[in-house]
Amino acid sequence: MIDMNSILLVSFGLFFIGAFGFLTRRNMVTMLMAVELMLNAVNINFVVFNRYLFPHKADGFFFTIFIITIAAAEAAVAIAIIINLYRKFRSIDAEDADTMKW
């Protein structure tokens, strides 16, 4: 069986790749993908902790399935927002949507 720390290391790396991508990218679709990466890192954490620490319970798995569902819905909403922003600004660059700032 693989060491729990190794798997956590993977999810750690995955989360910060996602965070880095979210901070540095300007393309909103890419940012959405980065968010999905962070969500998946969290999913891995849930599964790993459930499997290694509480083998007789299934709460972590339920949460993971729940998050996957939410992520799908969120992706749908996010893409709808991105399409509307594109209609308004003719761009999906996050920098161009600047009407809400002062």
Binding site: L23, R26, A94, E95, A97, D98, K101, W102
Partner: protein
């Protein structure tokens, strides 16, 4: 006890006419004059009836006094159980007399204006203002209450302002209206302060109550008002002097007289009504109304006496040098009001000592008639010549026989020639002065002499003294008229049209009526009806003082005939001999210049300018500072909201990291 409640109509009629002509006058311009005149006629008839009922049919009460009746009284503002402001009508001898004076002169002026203001663009407006004035003045004289009087006092001020500035396209008329309003407002500040002091001590605003409490020497109120002192003068004296200040402002007493000569910019009938017969005597009326209180304070009466006497002499000297006929009459008015004032000042209270009081009221009555006559006569002359300057007149006696005759009657009356009305009242005033104070008597005599001189200078310059051929004058003024249609030549109100005939009948009739009044009013036994304490007495006729007074007038007349009877160079020679004295009198003793110096140089520079600086820099600066600080602060803060999503995320992550570190290490 008779029912006088119909007296309310004397006030209501002018008010209603003011509203009607003010609102609908433009649609019926011709009608508004007739309506105003008829309304005033009915008001005048009512007041004659009141006078008859009050003085003759009603008669005296058991103790020989005329009662002070209040046929109508309504509590308006109740401040406390003891203090309230009422609106009401009081009838006593002086208010009934004033009702007669005001309605008579107002009726004459209404009638006269039909001819004089004919063709004027704002004819209906003029009549509505006249009605407003009549209403306010009538309300003033019948006030039961010092605060009601103050309100009507301001209303007459407003209507005077409106009528002086009637030709508002002329800058000088606008300036004169403003001056009249500001000077009298300034005086009214004193009046208001006086009212407040007086009512603070007497705990009442009602005339009757004030007089009752302030004349009761044993009462605590009188004692406390006398005991309280400020700068060594008792509160009661202060109150009376401040109230007199208001009266002096309205009545054009020195040094608050500066507005009256300028107020002659208004239409001439207005000058006759407001600035000769009625409004300017409001100050005299005020002092007379509170006379029982004044009589308790000799110091305040002395102030009234000296101010009156000085103004009488001062104005008479200036009147001798003026060339604008209306200004001569204005200074003459001021001088005659000075007479009334010092006559009140020399008066005592009880019985025969109250001669000055009766004489003052008598002079007020007769003066209203002959001064209104003089102004209306001058209006007829101006109407004919289209100029105010004496130099443009002369030799008009053939062209204007009626005006000539009535003007002569009025001049003789004001000069105190028997048996015209002015003689009786002036003789009584001088007799009262002789018994009280010799200096004032001499001042009065000199003034009488000067009065006769300048009135005959005026009369002769207009109707005799053929300076230049009259035809030339008319054509000159016609030319001027066409050149400057909005200028001073516009006074006649006739636009470009010049009548080469004497005034129309609507203008002659009031002149004749007033001339008859001038002839006969002197024979009214005035002191039988109006006296300080209400008791009747016969004013005795003393031969010697009468001869002295008449001869003073006669000297003035003779000098005037000598100088102005025919065109000659004597007046010029005399004025050049007098040099500085003449020129300073001609410049009205520089009082206007002193006012300008005090207001512009002293008050504006040392008070108003620093105050404005403080307002702009300190008060506004504080506000600006607050707004600048807020703005700069929010400018700094707003950059946080950059609109860049990645920035927000960074902040979010930083926050999450800090929070998690806190959780990890704190727990």
């Amino acid at each position: 006890m008779q029912d006088f409640s119909y007296i309310a109509f004397v006030l209501i009629i002018p008010l209603v006419i003011f509203v009607i002509t003010g609102l609908f006058g433009k649609k019926m311009p011709g009608l508004s004059g007739i309506l105003g005149t008829l309304g005033m006629l009915s008001a005048a008839c009512l007041s004659y009836f009141v006078a008859y009922q009050y003085f003759i049919a009603g008669g005296r009460t058991a103790d020989g006094l005329y009662p002070a009746l209040e046929p109508f009284k309504h509590t308006w503002l109740q401040f406390s159980p003891s203090l309230s402001i009422d609106i009401g009508i009081m009838l006593d001898p002086i208010s009934v007399m004033m009702l007669v004076v005001v309605t008579t002169v107002s009726l004459m002026v209404h009638l006269y204006s039909i001819g004089y203001m004919h063709g004027e663009e704002r004819y209906a407006t003029y009549y509505s203002f006249l009605s407003l004035f009549s209403f306010s003045m009538l309300g003033l004289v019948v006030s039961t209450n010092i605060f009601q009087m103050y309100m009507f006092w301001e209303l007459v001020g407003v209507s005077s302002f409106l009528l002086v500035g009637f030709y508002f396209s002329k800058p000088s008329a606008v300036a004169a209206a403003k001056k009249a309003f500001i000077v009298t407002r300034f005086a009214d500040l004193g009046f208001l302060a006086g009212i407040l002091i007086l009512s603070f001590y007497s705990e009442s605003l009602d005339f009757g109550t004030i007089i009752e409490r302030m004349t009761d020497h044993s009462g605590s109120i009188f004692e406390s008002a006398n005991a309280a002192s400020f700068m060594g003068v008792s509160a009661l004296t202060w109150a009376l002097c401040l109230i007199f200040m208001g009266g002096a402002g309205k009545s054009a007493m020195f040094p608050l007289h500066v507005w009256l000569p300028d107020a002659m910019e208004g239409p001439t009938p207005v000058s006759a009504l407001i600035h000769a017969a009625t409004m300017v005597v409001a100050g005299v009326f005020l002092v007379a109304r509170l006379f029982p209180v004044y009589a308790q304070v000799p110091a305040a009466l002395d102030v009234v006496m000296y101010v009156g006497a000085f103004s009488a002499l001062f104005a008479a000297i200036i009147a001798c040098t003026q060339t604008d006929i209306k200004r001569v009459l204005a200074y003459s008015t001021m001088s005659q009001i000075g007479y009334m004032m010092f006559s009140l000042g020399v008066s005592g209270y009880w019985g025969h000592e109250g001669l000055g009081y009766s004489a003052s009221m008598f002079h007020l009555f007769t003066h209203a008639m002959f001064k209104a006559l003089l102004f209306l006569g001058a209006g007829a002359v101006i109407h004919y010549v289209h100029s105010n300057e004496m130099g443009d007149m002369g030799g008009l006696r053939k062209k204007m026989p009626v005006t000539n005759a009535v003007f002569l009657i009025a001049c003789l009356a004001i000069s105190g020639v028997p048996p015209l009305s002015g003689f009786f009242s002036k003789e009584e005033i001088l007799t009262a002065a002789l018994h009280h104070n010799k200096i004032i008597y001499v001042v009065g005599l000199v003034t009488a002499c000067l009065t006769a001189f300048y009135m005959f200078r005026l009369y002769l310059s207009i109707f005799w003294n053929k300076a230049t051929p009259t035809n030339k004058v008319s054509s000159d003024s016609l030319l001027l008229l066409e050149k400057v249609p909005e200028g001073r030549m516009r006074q006649g109100g006739h636009g470009g049209e010049v009548h080469h005939m004497e005034a129309p009948m609507t203008m002659k009739l009031p002149l004749l009526i007033l001339a008859i009044a001038t002839l006969v009013t002197g024979f009214i036994p005035f002191s039988m009806y109006v006296s300080a304490d209400g008791t009747a007495f016969h004013s005795e006729f003393h031969l010697i003082p009468a001869i002295v007074a008449v001869s003073a007038g006669a000297i003035g007349i003779i000098i005037a005939i000598f100088l102005y009877g025919k065109k000659n160079d004597k007046p010029e020679r005399i004025s050049s001999v007098l040099g500085n004295i003449y020129s300073s009198a001609y410049r009205k003793f520089y009082v206007d210049e002193i006012y300008l110096f005090v207001t512009k140089k002293v008050i504006f520079k040392s008070l108003a300018a620093p105050a404005a600086w403080i307002d702009r820099n300190v008060v506004d600066g504080m506000m600006n500072l607050i707004s600048t600080v807020t703005e700069n602060f929010s400018d700094g803060v707003k950059t946080v909201q950059s609109g860049k999503v990645s920035n927000y995320v960074l902040w979010f992550f930083a926050g999450a990291v800090v929070l998690s570190l806190m959780i990890v290490y704190a727990i």
